[in-house]
């Protein structure tokens, strides 16, 4: 067990100081973004696509404009920079999401026209009076169907895969995975699926945008990233950042769902166009149906395993369902690729992680970004391997656990590994009896012991230098037999 070294006695860090906002939260006095009200405040509601995929032939606002309390409508023509991508700020391309739909909608619920009215009820009534003339298009919902050559194309660049520097997937290549399979005693394969999940924050996404006397705009928002939202809003509205003042910091649950910049640009635009404060807060059904979700995943894992449980090759092919636009999902695929082999020392790894576009509500960041479903798939796979090899679920994890100094498949040396110590503590917590060998293990760097000595073989597997051919440093494998091989 690595030692906790206290650099000096600490006074405050390490103590369960009562949270400074506890009393305000539990007495209902905390002020959230949607609680701000201002004289003359208008309400914004969105006209959304009723279908999954369609061309927009015409939008008729004439009946909506006659609703009492209607103030104005905003269409894509009102948005100075209507096509954007949230991650453009960190260099991710191309710009592909529409603030308001132009000629085409790509998911059910995609915003088309923003209605600003004196009351929320008037805004909703005007939304109901907008007439859309749509020509429905074939839609695609399955990630692997979406990658077939004849699939309906969701994006504007002719493919339903996000391109990672010339590749249709984020790749990891480490060692020689085919050589690893060839030497393995068992091949264990499975496919893991998950469905989209809603962030379900207590406070729905929202903001209030207020025009100030000096020509600036104050935006009270529950974004998780204040400057990120400000900078994206400045790009979409084509205004200098100094004209925007974002106030927030108190969020009633985020879980990644409030890193998207969805409400602030259009609310601020409405405040600019009307000269009045504008409130745009998602209803619960909007939060459930059109705010982004955790991506659905399909993860195929093929493992080559030795008789004693050591994994000598792992091939992962993953598909994340990005929905109609990229939002934060391409970045999740990179994080996924870095973590898809799990906390284990595997000498030969190949990962292909696809970000796939379909005609559904865009997915985006959510707690565990790209890793949660990788951990699910890998940890169920570990039990499958244990069953196949005939060892218990604890042993399969101790046998393969990574150590400090091991080269990870993405070619970074492990330096803060404590998986072994954490499993030892968990075993003690639940009263599981570990073997003497398991109790003696640590995450300390492996010593290059002779093969066959405790830890020696796994050491050779784990500390093998990056890029070396599998045959050079991989563990000596017993002769492969047909028994148990798929």
């Amino acid at each position: 067990m690595p030692e906790l070294k206290m650099p000096e006695p600490l006074h405050v860090v390490g103590r369960s100081v009562q949270r400074s906002d506890a009393a305000a939260h539990v007495t209902g006095r905390t002020r959230y973004a949607g609680d701000y009200t201002f004289p003359g405040m208008l309400h914004l509601r969105m006209v959304r696509s009723p279908v999954h995929h369609a061309m927009i032939r015409a939008v008729d606002l004439s009946r909506a404009e006659r609703v009492p309390g209607f103030v104005r409508a905003l269409t894509w023509r009102d948005v100075p920079h209507n096509v954007y991508t949230i991650l453009g700020l960190i260099g991710v391309e191309p710009e592909e999401e529409f603030v308001l739909a132009q000629d085409r909608v790509r998911y059910k619920g995609e915003p088309i026209v923003a209605i600003v009215a004196e009351t929320e009820a008037a805004a909703l009534e005007a939304v109901a009076q907008v007439r859309l003339d749509l020509e429905e298009l074939p839609a695609v919902f399955d990630v692997e169907e979406a990658l077939q050559p004849d699939a309906p194309i969701v994006t504007h660049w002719g493919s339903n895969a996000f391109m990672f520097e010339g590749h249709p997937c984020r790749r990891v290549r480490f060692g020689d995975v085919e050589a690893g399979f060839a030497q393995a005693d068992h091949i264990v394969e499975a496919v893991y699926n998950s469905s989209p999940i809603e962030h379900a924050p207590t406070e729905t996404t929202g903001c209030v945008a207020v025009p100030e006397a000096d020509g600036r705009f104050t935006v009270y928002t529950n974004t998780q990233a204040l400057y990120f939202s400000l900078d994206n809003t400045a790009i979409i509205l084509q205004v200098a950042g100094k004209r925007l003042h974002f106030v927030g910091g108190t969020v009633g649950g985020g879980f990644g769902g409030k890193v998207d910049v969805i409400v602030e640009p259009i609310a601020t635009l409405a405040a600019m166009k009307t000269g009045r404060p504008v409130r745009y807060v998602f209803s619960r059904s909007e939060e459930m149906q059109v705010s982004s979700t955790r991506s659905a995943w399909r993860i195929r894992i093929r493992d080559g395993v030795m008789r004693d449980g050591r994994i000598v090759a792992r091939k992962v092919t993953s598909y994340a369902d990005s929905g109609a636009y990229s939002r934060q999902t391409p970045y999740a695929l990179t994080k996924h690729a870095a973590n898809a082999a799990g906390p284990y020392a595997i000498p030969n790894v190949s990962i292909d992680a696809y970000c796939v576009f379909t005609n559904r509500t865009p997915s985006s960041a959510m707690r565990g970004f790209g890793v949660t479903m990788a951990s699910y798939a890998i940890e169920v796979q570990m039990d499958r391997i244990a069953e196949r090899v005939g060892v218990d679920p604890w042993t399969i994890r101790f046998v393969n656990a990574y150590r400090n100094g091991d080269m990870k498949p993405h070619r970074k040396l492990a330096e803060d590994a404590t998986l072994i110590e954490t499993m030892q503590a968990a075993a003690a917590l639940v009263g599981h009896e570990l073997t003497d060998e398991q109790r003696a293990m640590t995450s300390a760097p492996r010593s290059p012991g002779p093969e066959g000595s405790p830890g020696g073989e796994a050491a050779a597997a784990g500390s093998r230098a990056a890029g070396a051919p599998a045959s050079a440093g991989a563990p000596a494998a017993p002769a492969s037999t047909a028994e148990g091989v798929l």
Binding site: L10, H11, V12, V13, R15, V17, R19, S20, D21, D142, E165, R170, R171, V172, V191, N193, S194, S195, E198, T223, Q224, A225, L226, Y227, H245, V247, V251, G252, G254, F255, V259, M288, A296, D321, Y331, T334, N339, G342, P343, R360, G368, T372, S375, Y376, E379, V380, D383, P409, H410, K412, A417, T418, E421, T422, M423, A425, A426, L429, V430, H432
Partner: protein, 343 residues
């Protein structure tokens, strides 16, 4: 029909920080006339307790009590840039920025205290309770509040500090995936116990017990809050939640919490944990990020426990009663066919 019990295990690691770096956070600190300190940020508190934790790091570094620190967040006119609260980054990144700002402010404080005490700066210590002492000479001391006041009104000096933290942005090799995707790694191992009702397909989670290794805990009660909340979310992901119950079919999307079902207090199991502290080399006082990862290991632990209980492996989240019943029917059909064949 029976109620069958099983246990399952899962072990995970989780990276701290935006995975390729390039995600700065900054902080400004200044003393008030009465010796309190205001920390100005644009970072957001999602309800996890960021204000409290950042206040503790500032107080620790400044050498004052936690209630002498006011966290002023978040305002883009007054708070310097922060990339945001996500990627389990805030305690690590904002904490590092605040620690750096507090060190600068503390130096400014000690410089004024040195004038007051007529002692070299290097010989001064803060006792953590609002006093500056001359090391080795306990009789000579001055209150932080007095130093702050005199800095303003007698010396005309500022007691303030700036801090920034950024892991530089790193590239990914598109051919091999070589990259530097973390600042440190935290770990967890979860054991779940479930009871499967083979008549209804319902799964009752009886226990979620975990060991966590999260670097130094700034506030153990808030760490425990994350672990308990994350276990609930993981259980909910494993058994209940989706916006598309028949994914990839997009129909039947829920509109509210009566259609989007989650476990309530009655369904919550006993949730227990132990926390190991192995300090990271990059976090302030050795912290790692515990924010996101707590939902991760409960999911596979529960799925593995279901298989252990009833022999059905559902590889499709969420594991609903319908999927379990279909799995049981398939399993029984296979078993009875095998039995018939063996006769």
């Amino acid at each position: 029909m029976a109620k069958l019990r099983g246990t399952g295990i899962a072990a995970v690691n989780y990276p701290t920080g935006m995975n390729l770096g390039g995600d700065p956070s900054q902080a400004l600190i200044h003393a008030t006339t009465s010796g309190s300190f205001v920390v100005a940020l644009s970072s957001t508190d999602l309800g996890q307790g960021l204000r409290t934790v950042i206040g503790q790091i500032a107080a620790e570094t400044l050498g004052v009590a936690a209630d002498e620190v006011v966290i002023d967040t978040a305002d883009t006119d007054t708070g310097p840039h922060c990339m945001g609260t996500f990627a389990s980054r805030a305690t690590h990144r904002v904490g590092n920025a605040v620690k750096a700002a507090a060190e600068e402010a503390r130096t400014a404080l000690l410089e004024v205290a040195a004038l007051e005490l007529n002692a070299p700066v290097g010989g001064l210590v803060l006792d953590g309770f609002g006093n500056v002492l001359v090391a080795g000479d306990p009789g000579r001391c001055v209150r932080v509040a007095e130093v702050a006041s005199k800095a303003q009104f007698e010396y005309g000096r500022t007691i303030s500090g700036r801090g920034a933290y950024m892991k530089p942005k790193s590239p990914v090799d598109p051919e091999t995936g070589a990259m530097d995707p973390d600042s440190t790694e935290a770990h967890a191992c979860t054991i779940a116990e479930v009871e499967v009702d083979t008549e209804t397909g319902q799964v009752a989670v009886l226990g979620i017990r975990s060991a966590y290794e999260v670097g130094r805990q700034v506030n153990p009660a808030l760490v425990r809050g994350q672990i308990v909340g994350g276990a609930w979310m993981g259980m909910s992901h494993a058994l209940y939640e989706t916006t598309e119950p028949y994914y990839p079919n997009p129909d039947h999307k829920p509109k509210d919490f009566s259609e989007y079902v989650m476990p309530g207090p009655a369904e919550l199991p006993e949730i227990d944990c132990v926390v190991l502290e192995v300090p990271s080399s990059t976090g302030p006082y050795g912290v790692k990020g515990v924010g996101e990862m707590t939902a991760n290991s409960p999911i596979p632990a529960i799925v593995n426990a279901i298989y252990h209980a009833c022999g059905v492996r559902v590889d499709d989240l969420p594991v609903t009663p319908e999927k379990i019943l279909r799995g049981l029917e398939a399993k029984w059909a296979t078993e009875s066919a095998a039995a018939a064949g063996g006769r």
